[in-house]
């Protein structure tokens, strides 16, 4: 049972129980109903995020920016990786062209000490 399925099933179960309960206790039912909205689920399918290749060179990691990915493209690059068509130069490090698997692709946000995210 996935997270979404379990959430949905339990919400349905809760609604059923509350329907029964309201026959006995109307007021608590009304209040409890307000919390049904907690069944709403977070959805990241429309989100866009900047991604980078985490490239190991001479014992340290270098981040090579590969642009912004949205929706299905984001899911695809995180799952299946990214093919870098040309060498990418970051400071003194050159990230060679080639295929980088999903484990090397990072799209999570990071703290920005200047906070302009």
């Amino acid at each position: 049972m996935s997270f979404n399925e379990s959430e949905t099933t339990n919400c349905q179960c809760l609604i059923l129980i509350i329907k029964i309960m309201k026959k006995i206790f109307l007021i608590p039912f009304v209040i409890a109903s307000l919390f049904i909205m907690s069944c709403e689920e977070e959805d990241h399918h429309d989100e866009c995020h900047e991604c980078h290749i985490a490239y190991m060179a001479t014992g340290s990691k270098t981040q090579g920016e590969i642009g912004e990915f949205c929706g299905d493209d984001l899911a695809d690059v995180e799952a299946n990786g990214y093919t870098l068509l040309e060498d990418l130069v970051v400071g003194d490090v050159t990230i060679p062209a080639g295929f980088y698997p999903g484990v090397d692709i990072h799209c999570e946000d990071h703290a920005d000490h200047d906070h302009d995210h």
């Binding site: 049972m1 996935s2 997270f3 379990s6 959430e7 339990n10 809760l14 129980i17 029964i20 309960m21 026959k23 006995i24 206790f25 007021i27 608590p28 209040i31 409890a32 307000l34 919390f35 907690s38 977070e42 990241h44 989100e47 995020h49 980078h52 985490a54 190991m56 340290s60 990691k61 981040q63 984001l74 899911a75 995180e78 799952a79 999903g102 484990v103 990072h106 799209c107 999570e108 946000d109 990071h110 703290a111 920005d112 000490h113 200047d114 906070h115 995210h117």
Partner: protein, 738 residues
């Protein structure tokens, strides 16, 4: 009776029989009636109050020897055993001062008699509006610490032991919340919870055969007699996390039905460090609701409870594929707070969904109490490092059946029962840290309590037969174990002494046996060990207490020997050059010893001033290698000053002022490769007002002097040289009861 009422009658095995009631009265020393006295009937989990004439009504069907607890502020709490032949006339002694915070007074406890066992209790009734979180509140007890990072992730440590060694129960159900890892929090909030009971060590045989470190038992608020809804709404704000929290609760009863419902919604952003930067991704969101329905008649009492808790928790101090010990703190923090962005969940994040169903029925016959309990707890834990693909998505379901008998043979109280517990661990995705596995545990326990005049003893034994089965590893192993406890107490005038021995045996957990993968929450690659054997513990605990009208004093030395202690240790290699590899191993002999002291003082000239101090000293050694054990909490002195101003006329009806001070010693007794931690002082201040009828307003300051400190048990102590805890923060809470 309509079909729904019929359904509930079947569910609770009951028929409609009205209570026959008997009348009692509560008086003070001068024989004047006392109104507003709380009377807690433990067998029914029901709270009633005396009226203006001091009179109360209870069901005459309450079984003989049931405990009734009478309490009212300013009066000595009194516990009686109900006997239908005796007149219910209770006299509460007016207290010169109150000494109830350090476990001196007797109280009704689910875990047993606190005369016979080392049980501590803490009220959590108004925890939501106080300056502490649930864990921080319990943390104020002696010998208790916490692991965490800000308010988002917190869990309890008892006498240096935590995780799988500290067993948590909520209303009779074991909360298995993937508690093996430090980044997996306690799994519920203080919503609707009345109190917590704590046993340090494994003396609670009914609940915790494998509780090597101790057991925490949380109980919901009792039901009330009220045909019109009563309850509360509360809101709080804390500016360290920019936390907004709201709770409500409602209770009522009709005929023989009793009902409670509670809800909570809290959201917090990244917490602010003492240098006014913000620890990125320490944000969290909590949604919870619960309800309970009870039906009581003269023979059977049944309570059904449901609870849902949903947490979205950011995992702070994350960096992409780099050694976190060497990253600069600036790379993990933001320099300002952005209202639009900093409440949104980012990555890495945990999504935790817990559902708890319990049904408990008691049946009384011929002075025997039969209890049947069935509970189902399902925990879903997802950890996302990427946006779209969980690194970890697991369901852990726990089913418990328990049948229990309570009865008296002459002066000996017998408690015996059978318990069956099934756990199933199921992965929803192919990427997994722990494989699909199941365990079945059959337990039988028997405890005996004897208490007469100034002497008493408690003894008990528990047999467990646990099977762990994992198809992936072709693992099918049985772990039989025998746990026992024996304790004596002796009271002479104001002096009470008690000595307790307890043994416990803990079978290895699935995570310790089968882990093999990256654990993103801890940034480790963890490797289990299928040859692990049962962990065995023997603990001796001595407690001496003295109390008179002005002073309470408790000294509690202990020593615990643990054989085949299971530990997770780092090795000098990395997985994909990023995640340090950790192996599960067993130490032959580990010894934990320590001393806890409680001191409570009221100056004779200022009875409204309460001064409490708690000392915790602990030493944990791996005897084989003669090295200290990792993650041992630092020694601590906790001090609380409480000035009760209820009887004075102060603007805004200032009710009390509370000042809490924590001094944590430096921790120099560290394991190999474990960094030292420095001493620190923390001061919190809280003022409580009652500006309007039934309204409480709390204003507080945490970390008043903006101390920059990193607790020895901080989850992020090794990151960037140690990420500090929140700096000075202001909080304000408001509660209205109706």
């Amino acid at each position: 009776m309509n079909k729904y009422q019929f359904f509930f009658s079947i569910l609770f095995f009951n028929s409609y029989i009205l209570f026959s009631q008997v009348q009692g009265v509560v008086l003070n020393n001068e024989q004047s009636p006392l109104d507003g006295v709380n009377i807690y009937i433990s067998e029914y989990d029901l709270l009633i109050k005396t009226g203006v004439d001091g009179v109360f009504l209870i069901s005459e069907s309450i079984p003989n020897n049931s405990y009734l607890e009478f309490y009212k502020k300013g009066y000595q709490t009194t516990i009686i055993q109900y006997n239908y032949e005796n007149e219910l006339k209770i006299v509460l002694k007016k207290l010169h001062v109150e000494l109830d915070e350090i476990g001196i007074r007797e109280s009704i406890s689910v875990l047993g008699s606190n005369k016979l066992l080392n049980i501590e209790q803490k009220s959590l009734s108004d925890n939501f509006i106080s300056y502490t979180s649930l864990v921080e509140n319990i943390n104020q007890l002696t010998g208790v610490s916490s692991i965490g990072s800000g308010l988002g992730i917190q869990k309890i440590v008892i006498r240096g032991l935590s995780g799988l060694r500290v067993v948590t129960y909520l209303n009779g159900m074991r909360i298995s919340n993937q508690e093996w890892a430090n980044d997996h929090s306690i799994g519920f909030t203080d919503l609707g919870i009345s109190k917590v009971e704590l046993i340090k060590g494994a003396s609670s045989l009914q609940f915790g055969g494998d509780a090597v470190g101790g057991i925490l038992y949380f109980s919901d608020e009792p039901f009330v007699e009220s045909t019109i809804p009563s309850g509360f709404i509360a809101t709080k704000f804390d500016n360290s996390h920019m936390l907004f929290g709201n709770q409500f609760g409602v209770k009522m009863s009709r005929n023989n039905f009793y009902f409670k419902a509670d809800g909570e919604y809290s959201q917090a952003s990244d917490y602010r460090l003492p240098d006014n930067t913000y620890l990125f991704n320490s944000r969290f969101l909590n949604k919870a609701y619960k309800f309970s329905v009870a039906y009581f008649n003269d023979k059977i009492q049944s309570i059904f409870r449901y609870q849902h808790n949903s947490d979205h928790v950011g995992i702070p101090a994350h960096a992409c594929n780099v050694d976190l010990t060497s990253v600069p703190l600036e790379s993990l923090t933001s320099s300002s707070f952005d209202l639009n962005e900093d409440y949104k969940m980012t990555r890495p994040t945990q999504y935790i969904n817990n559902h708890l169903f319990t049904l408990k029925s008691n049946y009384f016959s011929n002075q025997i109490k039969y209890s049947f309990f069935v509970g189902y707890f399902i925990n879903n834990l997802q950890e996302f490092e990427k946006w779209t693909i969980p690194a970890f998505d697991m369901d852990l379901s726990t089913t418990t059946l328990r049948f229990n008998l309570d009865f008296l043979i002459k002066k000996i109280k017998i408690n015996t029962g059978l318990q069956y517990q099934n756990q199933d661990n199921f992965n929803n995705i192919s990427s997994r840290l722990i494989p699909d596995a199941s365990s079945n545990d059959f337990g039988y326990y028997l405890t005996m309590d004897f208490n007469k005049n100034n002497f008493g003893f408690n003894s008990g034994v528990r047999f467990d037969y646990k099977n762990i089965h994992c198809k992936d590893f072709e693992y099918n192993t049985f772990f039989p174990s025998v746990n026992s406890s024996l304790g004596f107490f002796y009271k002479q005038n104001d002096h009470i002494s008690r000595i307790t021995y307890s043994s416990s045996y803990r079978a290895p957990h699935l995570s310790e046996l089968f882990s093999d993968g990256v654990h993103h929450g801890t940034m480790r690659y963890e490797i289990g060990n299928i040859s692990l054997d049962t962990e065995k513990s023997h603990q001796f605990d001595f407690k001496y207490q003295y109390s008179n009208d002005h002073i309470g004093f408790v000294v509690n030395p202990f020593v615990q020997f643990v054989n085949d202690f299971i530990s997770i240790n780092p090795v000098d290699s990395f997985y994909i050059n990023t995640y340090r590899i950790y192996n599960y191993i067993q130490y032959d002999n580990v010894q934990l010893s320590g001393l806890e002291i409680n001191f409570h003082y009221h100056p004779h000239l200022l009875h409204n001033l309460h001064f409490e101090q708690y000392y915790s000293f602990i030493n944990a050694v791996n005897i084989d290698d003669d090295v200290f054990l990792a993650f041992t909490p630092s020694n601590k002195i906790k001090t609380k000053l409480y000035l009760d101003l209820e009887n004075y006329s102060i603007p805004l009806s200032l009710n009390n002022i509370s000042i809490y001070h924590l001094y944590s010693f430096s921790q120099d007794n560290v394991a190999l490769y474990e960094p030292f931690s420095s001493a620190y002082n923390i001061v919190n201040v809280e003022l409580m007002f009652n500006p309007f009828n039934k309204t409480s307003l709390l204003i507080g300051v945490n970390n008043l002097f903006n101390e920059e400190y990193v607790p020895h048990l901080s989850r992020i102590r090794d990151v960037a040289g140690g990420v500090p805890q929140p700096g000075r923060s202001f909080n304000i809470s408001l509660k209205y009861e109706f």
